[in-house]
């Protein structure tokens, strides 16, 4: 696979505007499924993992996922290619670091991706820009329904879809939204969000998913409960909390824009100036300043800056993407220099 095969600009979810794109970057849904009659992937011997891949390839390739679709054997991929897919949120770190036969199938618009032999045999994911949980769910469900015509799933009437980890059993549904919460972070209110989320059975994670720090003030909020609630109820639990959350961030943004106007403008312009002139910059630092620039663009403080282009940079300035652009492996120091040059060019 070559980066040139993928869209140079990043997946559709990074670009598209839409409902509440001022705060909501993306909406993602994933369904965990396993084939009946096989042990779960981590317990399956290598021959069976290979057999599972062989069995699902046909049904996957008969899906219509846009103009072009890709199958990538992660076990046979270059490390940097697998990492590019992680950075684009097409596969998880678990799939990247897993063992044996495994892969991913995705469409060129990068809306739908199906991981094979991650923790579960199938992880069907759909990710869309801005607030679009329903659309993401429908996209994932359409794939699920097409696959279940051809692949017998491991299910029980009592426990629903059976998954390797009991935390996913039942619907196997994890719905999440990626939120940009710079004002809540700045005003040190973000802990309240965590508390409100956990009270309603939702979990908060960093930009790159489980166990990752919240870089660039980006947070993922997702359901924890998958069993004992219907799919609609699970989606509703997220949708119910969101308006209050968005309103809270908005109020904090207003407060920053009125009471701390000069400070805010200073922060935003400094961030942009820094990104436009740095000669070396780490991933974390870049994300932090991109976050401020994004906030400035949303609040209309930075005329002429396209919000969608800033969104892409969160992904394109990450290590594996830079190495692909450069066409060779880069040491950390070199990478920071390349990142700075890349950002200067993009934000010029």
């Amino acid at each position: 696979m070559e980066l040139s095969d993928l869209d140079r600009r990043g997946g559709e979810w990074l670009r598209g505007g839409g409902a509440r794109h001022d705060i909501v970057l993306s909406s993602r849904v994933r369904l965990a499924r396993n084939l009946a009659g096989f042990p779960f992937a981590q317990r399956a011997p290598e021959e069976q993992k290979a057999e599972i891949v062989a069995r699902v390839r046909g049904p996957l390739e008969s899906l219509s996922l846009g103009t072009r679709a890709f199958w990538v054997d992660i076990d046979k991929s270059e490390k940097v290619d697998a990492r590019v897919l992680v950075e684009r949120h097409l596969i998880s770190r678990e799939l990247e670091g897993g063992k044996g036969a495994r892969g991913v199938y995705f469409g060129s618009d990068e809306v739908v991706s199906v991981m094979v032999n991650e923790e579960d045999h199938l992880r069907i994911q759909a990710i869309r820009a801005s607030l679009a949980l329903e659309e993401s769910f429908e996209a994932a469900r359409a794939v699920d329904e097409a696959l279940e015509q051809k692949l017998p799933y491991a299910v029980s009437s009592r426990y629903g879809y059976l998954t390797a980890c009991p935390t996913n059993a039942g619907t196997g549904l994890r719905a999440s939204v990626m939120l940009h919460l710079p004002a809540l972070v700045h005003l040190k209110q973000v802990d309240k969000v965590f508390q409100a989320a956990s009270r309603t059975g939702l979990a908060v994670r960093g930009f790159n998913g489980e166990g990752t720090p919240a870089m660039g003030d980006l947070y993922q909020i997702s359901n924890q409960i998958t069993l004992g609630k219907s799919e609609d109820e699970i989606l509703a639990s997220l949708k119910d909390l969101l308006p209050r959350l968005l309103e809270y961030e908005e109020r904090c943004r207003q407060e920053l824009a009125t009471r701390g106007r000069v400070k805010l403008e200073d922060k935003v312009h400094r961030a942009l100036a820094l990104l436009r002139s740095a000669r070396t910059i780490s991933s974390e630092e870049a994300m932090q300043h991109l976050s401020s620039v994004r906030l400035g663009a949303v609040l209309g403080l930075l005329a002429g800056l396209d919000l969608q282009r800033i969104g892409e940079l969160f992904v394109l300035a990450q290590p594996a993407h830079l190495q692909k652009l450069e066409g060779r492996p880069l040491e950390a120091d070199e990478r920071d220099q390349r990142r700075a040059a890349f950002l200067r060019a993009r934000l010029a």
């Binding site: 009946a36 317990r43 009437s157 009592r158 009991p166 039942g170 069993l227």
Partner: protein, 210 residues
């Protein structure tokens, strides 16, 4: 507490604990010392004829106090192993470890019963067939490891045959996402499945290409 005595020589402490599971209610245990196990070649008695890998794993953990934990007959995982790794071994574990899993599911989800859509083939018949497949695949894996190619070939045939068995869809199996599952599928506490043989219990015509 001193370790139990070997059931064979009744002199040495039993360090090898063997459990034979013929179903959830039928568990037979055998505790022997290493000398007796060796003198019997661990294959002498009819009860020890099967499952050498399982014995090997038992030899490795002689410290387990008292009765060894039951292992899922289709994937070989024990509940302790699940606790350690956080991942189950196969779909049958949900049934086999039900009494341990239900409280855990309650803790995680506040419920241990599914409410949501289900695809076709989710009835007890399908479950039995799938558990049979799991078991056959495990036996196949062991046969290949032991280089018993004839039984491996036979097991492959059995798997192929069992896979072509069309399982009748459970009534109301496919529920709409917004459906109320209570009427269509009462939370039937399926009885644990018996061992499904490779060929028996088939019904209906062969499925069109799996």
């Amino acid at each position: 507490m001193p370790p139990p005595l070997c059931q064979s020589c009744k002199q040495n402490p039993a360090t090898i604990h063997y459990t034979e599971i013929k179903g959830p209610e039928k568990v037979r245990e055998l505790h022997v010392c290493e000398a007796c196990a060796q003198s019997q070649g661990m294959t002498g008695g009819p009860t020890l004829a099967a499952l050498p890998p399982m014995l090997a794993s038992l030899v490795k953990s002689p410290k387990s106090p008292g009765a060894p934990a039951p292992r899922c007959p289709t994937c070989g995982i024990s509940f302790a192993e699940f606790r350690e790794k956080g991942r189950l071994g196969c779909p049958h574990d949900y049934e086999f470890f039900q009494e341990h899993l239900d409280p855990l599911l309650e803790k995680i989800h506040g419920s241990s019963e599914h409410k949501g859509r289900l695809p076709r083939g989710s009835g007890p018949e399908a479950t039995r067939r799938n558990d049979g497949l799991l078991r056959l695949r495990r036996e196949l894996q062991q046969a290949v490891k032991a280089e018993q190619y004839e039984s491996a070939a036979r097991l492959r045939d059995e798997i192929r045959l069992l896979e072509t068995v069309e399982v009748p869809a459970a009534s109301g199996a496919t529920l709409p996402a917004s459906g109320t599952p209570t009427a269509a599928t009462p939370p039937a506490k399926e009885r644990r499945s018996r061992r499904t043989g490779g060929s028996g219990g088939s019904s209906g015509p062969a499925a069109p290409g799996a």
